[in-house]
């Protein structure tokens, strides 16, 4: 037993390394890049730490299943709209002194043939190369610059409402948790500023009791998002069957048809 205890005695605590940080600008680039065309630009990178560092640039695909961009491991990247092969960057690493800034040049090339046809999503991730360490846990900071590439032509976001579910909080029945799942099954992302979504709570006869705007997010194609909303039913609302109505409007460019989606589910509330 003593041996096990001794063996498990892990070495000492917390040594704080030098302050290290990286800044990237711009962090979002959205462009219409028709098949066969290319574009060159640059990203400004600053070492915001107080010691010289080596900053490495890596190109990776990304997706956003829950509304937050998630960088994809290239070895496991099977997202059909990943753009990891469309961007090149030079240099791939640079040594920067404290508060020193440099530019990384990029070239993005949209292939002639896209399969599936649609938007492409790629990130340049800037990481401070960690020093060799004997510590058990080493943490590394990195910042991603995201590219949202639209090939133009026959592209469009398209939504599906996968379901709406309302549950009363067991501890407070007047607190209702409404979960609505929305999927973008089109071939292009939709920007949060192009979407308007609203929940209406209706009584059995279709009269509006309350309305709740949903906070929308940019949604990439092939992803879905669960909106969780909390609704506090009025104190004088009697038990009964009510209706939860979700409506979503996707606005488009001039000459593009505005898309409307809605779904309504009857729900029994016991107060």
């Amino acid at each position: 037993m003593r041996k096990i205890v001794a063996g498990l005695f892990w070495t000492t605590l917390l040594s704080v390394a030098l302050y290290a940080g990286v800044s990237v600008s711009p962090v979002i680039t959205e462009m219409v890049l028709p098949p066969g065309s290319s574009y060159e630009g640059r990203l400004a990178i600053t070492n915001t730490g107080d010691t010289p560092v080596i900053i490495e640039a890596q190109i990776k695909g990304f997706t956003a299943p829950g509304g937050t961009p998630l960088i994809l491991d290239p070895a496991k990247d099977n997202y059909p709209y990943s753009g990891k092969d469309l961007l090149q960057i030079t240099p791939t690493q640079a040594k920067l002194g404290p508060n020193e800034m440099t530019y990384f040049e990029y070239k993005v090339q949209m292939p002639e043939n896209l399969d599936p046809y649609g938007g492409r999503y790629v990130a340049v991730v800037f990481k401070i190369k960690p020093a060799v360490s004997e510590a058990q846990v080493v943490t590394v900071a990195q910042v991603a610059s995201l590219f949202l590439l639209n090939p133009g032509g026959d592209v469009s976001p398209h939504f599906s409402i996968k379901g709406i579910e309302a549950n009363q909080d067991p501890n407070d029945p007047r607190r209702v948790i409404i979960r609505s799942v929305i999927a973008n099954d089109g071939n292009l992302h939709i920007n949060a500023d192009q979407v308007c979504a609203m929940l209406h709570i209706l009584d059995g006869d279709g009269y509006i009791i309350d309305q709740i705007p949903l906070r929308t997010h940019t949604m990439l194609p092939g992803t879905e998002y669960t909106h969780t909303t909390y609704w506090l039913a009025p104190e004088d609302l009697p038990s009964g069957t009510y209706q939860i109505h979700l409506s979503v409007i996707l606005f488009g460019a001039i000459n593009k048809k505005t898309q409307h989606y809605f779904q309504q589910v009857p729900t029994e509330f016991k107060f």
Binding site: K3, V16, V32, L70, A135, V137
Partner: protein, 171 residues
Amino acid sequence: MLFSKKVLWLLVLGVLLMTPLMAPAKDKSPVVKVRARIAGTLMLSIESGEEIDFEVDPLNNPEDTAQTELLVITNLPAYSVTALFEEFVIEDFGYDLIKNGKFFIRTKAPGSGEGIADWTVPEEGEMVIVKFEDGFTSGETVLIEYMLKIDFSVPPGVGKMKIVFTAVPEI
């Protein structure tokens, strides 16, 4: 005179100041349309907890905690932070502390964002640790706490792990 001298000078100055901002990108093809949504600066630093060691034994000190502080500066409206936890394996035994539910994290968003309130075993692959945090900040701290909690089922040895934190804009 349509403009005063002062106004003309301000216009000239404005054009001069704008020129370097417009210069960096070079359009290779006339059909490429770059939208104006090219913006934002995002900075992530590790303020403390860049290197961590835990001290645990199953009898006298079965758990130990530590933390990392990330400093975020940005002019974006909102941002999130994700983390990639590599394997945390005691090599001699091939025992993974994460897969066996011995290593936990929780996080605290500095503002209105969503952190991870309860101790949680990290997910495999990239996971969101703070989401939809309000931006426009000249410096705020995201706190990540770790807990290693062992018992006699954990073999002796030292495990090593790298954690990669990524700051991403809310798109």
